[in-house]
Amino acid sequence: MRRLLRRLVVVAAVLCTASAAASDASAVPDTLAQRIAACTACHGEHGEGGDNGFNPRLAGKPAGYLVRQMQDFRRGLRHYDVMEYMVAPLTDEYMHEIAAYFAAQDVPYATHPVPSTTPAAMARGEQLATRGDPARGVPACMACHGTALTGVEPDIPGLVGLPYDYVSAQLGSWRTNTRSTVEPDCMATVVGRLTDADISAVSAWLAQRPVPADVHAAPAGSVTPPLRCGVLGASR
């Protein structure tokens, strides 16, 4: 009887330790989502973007583009203190894994307020996005970002569902040299040919555009960029 009791006690003790160990291990999920809490705190658990004009959506953006942005922040080509600090301790391998996570997320787009603008500005925005301004050497957004403006795999981001504040801030930061990338930096070339009014117009037109039913990036090779771009593999 005493032996049985002793055995029971031992079994109970083992079970308790095992379950304590299990609960301790389960306390921290071994998932990428858990590991990248620093990213999702601002960009949303699925990379749906922050509730503001500053923390952009990452979900569904081509992985090559996302890796490039992290590398540009690390190399000081693209400037934003918080992101430069965040990516500094990461390796390229880890960046690829994080980028693949967000690229694979498929969540609905949020709608953003659009600033009121004049019909003339809207027409100018549409012209720049769809046809460009050949007289000033400005290619259409669609020439690179795809006719549906949903981006092109693996390196060109979509321009749909982005808030006005974000798009205009990015175009502005190319002009002030707080956003750049590997040479030849064709977005810097394009923005250099835009006026302030052009930046507002094209940002407003892009922001007011309804998100298309299929938001996935177009397949690789489906556009022939009119400029030589370092981000697309062109050399200087």
Binding site: A27, V28, R35, A38, C42, A88, P89, E93, Y94
Partner: protein, 406 residues
């Protein structure tokens, strides 16, 4: 004919041996340059390795690091090994003028001639990059290099490391790395108003100028900044960026990434052996907590339960390898509170290393916690469990709200 063949064989043997020796020196130099973390300053963020250009902020103005590649006009192409030794050992540049102590010759003076020669051989083996020096922006009077003569008399003790025969080989190697090549004391100490690091005693902790992080005291004995750490914990932190006692963040994460993770286990163990021999420190002077510290901590307890406890646990012990403990963590209880404030506001990733390739991370709370709540939760973690550090104020939080520079 046979003689000729023999001569050729002998000659080729001679050349391959001397080439192998030269390769050895270059390889040894590469390792030593990594251990000395030369690239941290002499490589700019988007620049060629060792081509300089990173601008180092100091309280006296900004000083760009020069080009160390063997370009003749803009690098060290015209230097001789003697010149390099003189720079490292005496803090004197190629043109005979005194170097500024942002270049840590105060520590490098302890590096042996054999090691400076190896580092020089390695630098000479790099591709030459044309990268002209950038002018410093030191303010008057600091830009007068002649002032350095007085500074040197007051603050510079020239001399190679002298091994202590009473200590083990490992201890001596560790001392050489910590005090000399690794130049740990350039950050882990206070600097006086002349920018001179306090050297007696060494590595007692201090605020890293301009970057504004607190580099902790490195004593593992009673009242030391690493009290309770084992030598294995020290090695783990230097090798992988994390340990059971704490995780490397801020400037130390950069040191792990560029330098210590690449060092041999024997060298890391030697550094730990040396640090373990550092004496106990005086008990911290009780810094009065603010009058409202109790209320602040009570408010902080609620913030902690809501925001922090999931990862760092109610008892502050952290969670396994993922999240470091806050109880007994010297970065939480540092005399200034800077590190805890910075971590709460900026969060971030532990350094990604082969030993921890997919690090966990902490969300930045700068956008979700106001100065009052951040001060409350930092005060709470500095005084909860076994921690007994002074409170921090909302004003302290405001002072360090900016994102740390990279």
């Amino acid at each position: 004919m046979k003689t000729l063949l023999r001569a050729i064989a002998a000659l080729s043997l001679f050349f391959s041996v001397s080439l192998a020796l030269a390769d050895d020196a270059v390889e040894r130099g590469r390792y030593l340059a990594t251990a000395g973390d030369c690239a941290a300053c002499h490589t700019s963020r988007n620049g060629a390795p060792y081509a300089g250009g990173r601008v180092l902020g100091t309280p006296f103005g900004a000083i760009p690091a020069p080009n160390l590649t063997p370009d003749h006009a803009t690098g060290i192409g015209a230097w001789h090994a003697d010149d390099f030794y003189r720079a490292m050992h005496s803090g004197v540049g190629h043109d005979g003028t005194s170097l500024y102590p942002v270049f840590p010759f105060t520590s490098y003076t302890k590096v042996t001639r054999a090691d400076t020669d190896a580092i020089f051989a390695y630098l000479r083996s790099l591709p030459a990059v044309k990268a002209p020096a950038i002018d410093n922006t030191l303010r008057w009077p600091y830009r007068m290099r002649s002032m350095m003569a007085a500074w040197r008399v007051l603050f510079f003790d020239e001399g190679e490391f002298r091994p202590d025969p009473k200590r083990s080989a490992a201890w001596n190697r560790g001392a050489y790395l910590v005090e000399g090549l690794g130049h740990c004391n350039e950050c882990h100490t206070r600097r006086d108003s002349f920018g001179a690091p306090v050297t007696d005693p060494l590595v007692t902790g201090g605020i890293v100028p301009v970057q504004n992080w607190y580099a902790p005291d490195l004593s593992m004995a009673r009242h030391g900044g690493l009290e309770g750490w084992t030598e294995a914990d020290v090695v783990a932190l230097l090798k992988t960026g994390r340990s059971q006692k704490g995780t490397a963040f801020g400037p130390m994460a950069d040191v792990v990434l560029r330098s210590t993770q690449h060092m041999t286990d024997a060298d890391l163990a030697a550094m730990a052996t040396y640090l373990a021999s550092l004496p106990e420190r005086a008990p911290p002077k009780p810094r009065e907590s603010a009058v409202d510290a109790r209320e602040l901590a009570q408010r902080g307890a609620k913030v902690y339960a809501a925001r922090c406890a999931t990862c760092h646990a109610d008892d502050g012990r952290g969670k396994g390898d993922a999240y470091p403990p806050l109880d007994g963590n010297g970065s939480v209880t540092d005399p200034t509170g800077i590190n805890a404030i910075r971590m709460v506001l900026s969060g971030g990733f532990a350094p990604a290393t082969p030993g921890n390739p997919r690090p966990y991370s902490m969300p930045p709370f700068s956008q979700t916690l106001d100065d009052d709540d951040a001060a409350a939760v930092v005060t709470y973690i500095r005084q909860a469990w076994s921690n007994k550090a002074a409170s921090v104020s909302p004003g302290d939080v405001r002072a360090y709200r900016s994102t740390p520079g990279t």
